[in-house]
Symmetry: C2
Subunit: 512 residues, 2 copies
Amino acid sequence: MKTTTISNVKEAIIRFKELDEKICHLNDILSLVSWDQKTKAPKKSASIFASAIGTLSTETFKLAISDEMTELLEYLSLDENSAELELEMAAAVRERKAHSRKLAKIPEAMYKEYSILVSRANAVWEEAREKSDFSIFEETLGKIVSYTKKFIELYGYEGHPYNALLEDYEPGLTVEKLDPLFAELRTRSVALLDRLKRKGAEPAVDFLEADYEIEKQKEFNSFIVPKLGFDMAAGRLDESAHPFAQPINTGDVRLTTRYRLNNMRTAIFGTIHESGHGMYEQGINPDYEGTVLREGASFGIHESQSRFYENFIGRSSSFWNHFYPKLQEHFPEQLKDVELDAFCRGINQVAPSFIRVEADELTYNLHIMVRYEIEKGLFDGSIEVKDLPKVWNEKMNEYLGITPPNDSLGVLQDVHWSFGGFGYFPSYSLGNLYAAQIYYTLKKEHPELESFIEKGELSFIREWLRERIHQYGKLFTPNELIVKATGEELNASYLMNYLEEKYSRVYKLNAV
Amino acid sequence: MKTTTISNVKEAIIRFKELDEKICHLNDILSLVSWDQKTKAPKKSASIFASAIGTLSTETFKLAISDEMTELLEYLSLDENSAELELEMAAAVRERKAHSRKLAKIPEAMYKEYSILVSRANAVWEEAREKSDFSIFEETLGKIVSYTKKFIELYGYEGHPYNALLEDYEPGLTVEKLDPLFAELRTRSVALLDRLKRKGAEPAVDFLEADYEIEKQKEFNSFIVPKLGFDMAAGRLDESAHPFAQPINTGDVRLTTRYRLNNMRTAIFGTIHESGHGMYEQGINPDYEGTVLREGASFGIHESQSRFYENFIGRSSSFWNHFYPKLQEHFPEQLKDVELDAFCRGINQVAPSFIRVEADELTYNLHIMVRYEIEKGLFDGSIEVKDLPKVWNEKMNEYLGITPPNDSLGVLQDVHWSFGGFGYFPSYSLGNLYAAQIYYTLKKEHPELESFIEKGELSFIREWLRERIHQYGKLFTPNELIVKATGEELNASYLMNYLEEKYSRVYKLNAV
């Protein structure tokens, strides 16, 4: 393999493009398959189809770390060759390298053992969560952590060992950069939460827990999704146990949501959230089809788009100023006595709770801070797996002021660790930080923003995001992209200023 | 490639199984993708996703005709080796050989030219059909026929050149075997049709063309499909422009149907038809998953299962004796004044018409005879492409007594020729012939059959079919299978006796 078979850069580019395209095509098909399994496949299919999916995944994986790909990446990364690459090609090489470099460092046998461990871990975690008993999951989680520690050593890292994991989700971000951002986020959020709980006027929310007929919720969702700017001719909206947005290609992005009779917020805000992800994928430059660039820049940037629409648009008074009458039409009984202002305060209630996915806009980040501190500790050796329930509960109490009564409402609630997804959680808060900074920039450039939203004219927002963020796919690193879009590096003040201003209003902190 | 790398039969079997499994897994995924494109994919997806599908199809195709496969098939077919193979392995080798032998004979460049021609032909055919102008399609069809003639020479054949095409759909069947079967079918059908039209009492059908609310039709269909024995936990029922049954695996078989407000027969009989295909696929031995044997024995045998349920069960008085009250519950207005007997006569009306897919049970085969005679003529040189409209209309007049007023109601109605599917049409009538012979056998062994159907107890029929036909997949050739299941080779009398008896009753031919 070491004797190169490549004669020149031009040839290398052609071969790279072919291979990249093949991998992307097979990944697109795997995306469709994954969507199908979660939404349409009949019950008896899964256990049989798993081996077919395994076959295609393996073939795709093999191509990504093939000798051919390794050789091409090495060749195209040589100084004299990389200088000849155009922007797109250089970015594609960077992305493929990031993907295959780390995988190539893990011995095949070790990777196989780990894959088997992880594929079995989900069932163990589910059982533990169901029985609310961390001890059932402890051994398995211990093994996953210990493999991950080995991987970190094999990958190599600078600074904190957790950096080796973070870069899979947010290339370029490190503990050293995150710590100050998250410190500001944590301390100001804890302080704000304390003020709201002590001095704030608690909004009423009882009307949100009435019976909201599910068929009517579906109608309203189908009405709202295209209004946001999601193109229904290039996507779908279905139901699934856990909501998600699954891109197949720029002409086919599939959203799911779920409905709760007694909680209309679940479906509406979940759907708006997924629409944000979906518009990002629909807006990527179609020339990037069949290349590794046709994906969001990072997990954090992706989450910024969903949070932007869910919170900055969807939970704003300007938005409901226009859409609330329509919602009332759908639910005249439930909402006839609820004024717009009361509705907007209700959907913005802050209430510390045990479960992350049900958290409000403010306490959500505190849930992430708990996980961030724990993950760092697991990999710098300051926290041991056996102590997780205790540490979890202490941090929940410290940040949110509440202590989970059991493991299933505490340390066992999230699926991520069971698939080895360490480093993933920070993306959620990064998404909020990016979203606030983007929102601030948009508003600075378009001071008339709110008046457009109040008229339900949302399409120019999508156009702006498409121009600044969406179109680029993976062309830029997250940091390059946010600087390009907003003029500065990520800064936690935008989110905190926004939250302080918003909740002072909602909770009438400055009222006489 | 010619120097073998295989040391012994055991090793060859292991390698063959691995490769066969990989091909089957990728084909299962392609099946899912194909279902999705026809039922769920958003409008803007198709043009982009086509290249991803192309990539996976090409990879799968390459594996099927790979040097590795060719070498394994040659090795396992050597007399001294094939003697060592178990029944299943011998059948798998037979099926893979049939598949790759012919493909390997076509030069790659020629195959590529042909693929491009055929991929463009659909649009040309559609335009021609829309404008009802054969001349638009003539040149393209001429090229497809001329490529097919070259393929026939490259494949080689015994007897009639059309045999080289027939064997793709019905392995082992030849013009020499089909001619006498179809001659009996044609002459007796023409004679019966003539008697019905001259002496029969025409059933009323006006009530079938009332408005049948589509939601209610869907409800009834969802009720009837599991009653037939189709397992809804191992399948789905959706809508599509053209109904089909798409197996993904034995735990996942997807049916589609279509609804017409003014013709409830379309959905009901279409759905029963596809359920027949579906139960076949659900009933194949699950040990055959991941092997080439996990498919129906042939197009004709597959069609026998759908026709069996559609016609022999679904259009019988015994069936409606049980289910008609339920249908009346769904459509009280439309059916309140229609007696069971009148309903059963109505759904069995015989009416020569121009369009094959709308034809009744008797004239359907005459539509196939038109196509069979024409396809034979195209490939033995007795019919030229430019004369097709004329020949078509003459044969329609000869067999059905009607002359299509234009090409779109005539020679342009079917999609098959545009994808080069010559040899496909006979399967439809073979399905009817097989179905009748199978029905005769079932009834001989279970004289109480009708009384079970009258009670709506249909599951034992599926069990019997599963035992005799379904479970075997492609283990046996169609001829072996029909002999095993019914004790004799295919015989046209069963179908003709059944049709003569049935229509004498429906048309009251023997009434005083």
